[in-house]
Subunit: 286 residues, 2 copies
Amino acid sequence: MPGTPDLPVVRTIAELRQTVSGWKRQGFTVGFVPTMGALHEGHLALVREAGERADRVVASVFVNPAQFAAHEDLGTYPRQEARDAELLAGAGCDLMYAPEVAEMYRPGATTTVSVGAPAEGLEGKCRPHMFGGVALVVAKLLNQVQPDTAVFGEKDFQQLIVIRRLVRDLDIPVEIVGSPTIRDGHGLALSSRNAYLSEAELTVARRLNGVLAEAGARIASGAAIEEVAAEAVEALLGAGFSHVDYVAVRRADDMGVFEGGAVDAPARILAAAWLGKTRLIDNLAI
Amino acid sequence: MPGTPDLPVVRTIAELRQTVSGWKRQGFTVGFVPTMGALHEGHLALVREAGERADRVVASVFVNPAQFAAHEDLGTYPRQEARDAELLAGAGCDLMYAPEVAEMYRPGATTTVSVGAPAEGLEGKCRPHMFGGVALVVAKLLNQVQPDTAVFGEKDFQQLIVIRRLVRDLDIPVEIVGSPTIRDGHGLALSSRNAYLSEAELTVARRLNGVLAEAGARIASGAAIEEVAAEAVEALLGAGFSHVDYVAVRRADDMGVFEGGAVDAPARILAAAWLGKTRLIDNLAI
């Protein structure tokens, strides 16, 4: 990205707060995009969204160990900080906050945060560590940055709902904005984990959004949720996915189950499926 | 308190933030004292301490149902809001924040906060609901008020340590100040619950601090913690207390146990004891 000026990078809460409070003294509003790095167009869309809503934008790059289980891909999760900084600068970010693990989790820390019901099914069931780790690190990051607005991707839809609940229940003074999923030309949701996929797996992965779209359309037309979801699982396995954790339909506002078997409120269809060792998630509005 | 101007009272987060953000725009710092009302000189000392450290002082009056168990004294906890407002004004408070329960706990709230180890023994063992309720409401209050400084009494010493840990672990941007316990002429720690005591019980209650002071002095001189604590329990029962929940010695910084049986770091002796239906707590530095 020739001509992009170097992005300032801070690694401590003290430096971060110094910059942000300087902005606030000048009357600037602050937008925030938390990431785990390995940035792609999806993240950059969040940064641009933050830039439209606030005068200054902070992006964090922190691979949060608290949201990975021991068997998961913490060690191999892609890291490319120099490139991330370049991409962020190009998208209009003003400051990259890239703390070390020891800055985020100081010795003797014991506090945990649980968001309860919205975090309990789907991803919360498949990855029991995750939302506790997400809630803790997001509460910390929001308190560290103190932004006016924070932007999260709808790609991790349940996570977005969990964070909205966290912020509402703890009265954290920030506006949470959900931003639409960015997809490739075949509809595949952009994800840092797509980098793990072989060419053959990529072809299969690109079927995920189509299967969900078709299932969502049938449910919107009145078909029974359980039946359509079971058929979508079969369709994914038929397309070449090696395992399907879930295809599910939930209330869009709180991830609640539709007890009657049909949707009677804004709904989301969500799925998680495996291609070899790579786990992909996606979701669509119904 | 003749001549004291009426204290402004707000009951919603929106009104509270409007006032506080107005002060911040003028460059004023903000001190905060959370209370459950039924104010006495102990609370007023916290308000004065906040006034010495900040340009404007907010006190909240909120009897937090989340920190009472079903069998505890939520229903009978003393309430005297008009008098509280008068006392706060006289101590230099600038704003009373007295939210209704429905403003603090909105329908559908599910988030919980646990501070872990420092909240686990002593009060946390005797009153298992309490510190979860305290951590949640204090996190919410700090996010609602957004003070620069918040002052808590050493009277509830374990609570002070729990709140320090909460604020550190969640990176809440506030300085927590602990303020010494205020006592009557006989050394009895002031407490809203002292109002429950008969004259005869009050005479017994006034022995609590002396028993703790003597036990603390012996431990400071090298006597074995467990032995001295057991003798202090007997002394309290002998003085007329009807039951003793605990007399214990803990590390002053994190409520940790002294594994060796002797104190080798700053320590606190803490006790909880009953007079009929009234439960009193107290603590002293060793």
